[in-house]
Amino acid sequence: MVMPKRVVVGAHYGWRDWLVQRVSAVVMALYTLLILGMLVWFGGLDYAAWKAAFGSGLFRLATFVFMLSLLWHAWVGVRNIAMDYLKPVGVRLTFQVVVIALLVAYVGWTIQVLWGGV
């Protein structure tokens, strides 16, 4: 195959977003399996099992990694949607700034939920 000789320009974040979307998806899928496994293991969900699960530091860390994957995954997806439908640059920029602020706030909220009671 004859490849065109050309200099590829750009910020190169396209392939990184592509990869982030897939790696974060795999992390979330594994966490989902973990949750399903725990539900089967505990035989349902009551307050005692619920507290016991989140009492484990390892589970809290796994949950934190899941949430970071979820929020980063959401950023890539929402940004793609914004690039497709929000054409005026000002509107798109404002929307993206709001979304970023929201996602950062969610990271803080996640930390509060997981470690706030300790």
């Binding site: 899928a29 979820l70 949607i81 969610y106 009671g117």
Partner: protein
């Protein structure tokens, strides 16, 4: 500039009557992938954090969440979000498999999109049956 040597492109017809376009099944699954993702972002993430935060705070909080989530409106929201999660999950796995160049031909792609659509609905119905 090489681009200037070429003849100007003919204006091509733009046909975007959303009520007249018939989407092929894989395209239908694709737009639902996007819609379900948007709903999970808009409603799913804040609801997840809110519910888990309250339910972890105290036994009273746990009981309050159970009561709040069993109202008919809340159950409807949960069922919709469950469908979003299932559809987004399965459509995502389909993407990952296709990244490995498996099921790329038209027939397989159509079949896997049908499987995605149906499986997500069946799992959602199972959740709905459990909630009611």
């Amino acid at each position: 500039m090489a681009a200037l040597d070429r003849p100007a492109p003919k204006p091509r017809p733009v046909y975007l009557d959303l009520f007249a376009i018939r989407l092929p099944l894989p395209a239908f699954v694709s737009i639902l992938h996007r819609v379900s993702g948007a709903l999970l972002f808009l409603a799913g993430i804040p609801l997840l954090l809110w519910v888990v935060g309250h339910a972890l705070a105290s036994p009273e909080g746990w009981a309050q969440m159970r009561a709040a989530l069993s109202s008919p409106v809340a159950r409807l929201v949960l069922v919709v979000l469950a469908w979003c999660y299932f559809h987004h999950f399965i459509a995502g796995i389909r993407h990952l498999v296709m990244d490995l160049h498996i099921g790329m031909d038209l027939k397989s792609a159509r079949q896997s999109s049908a499987v995605t659509l149906v499986l997500a609905i069946l799992l959602t119905l199972a959740v709905a049956a459990k909630l009611w």
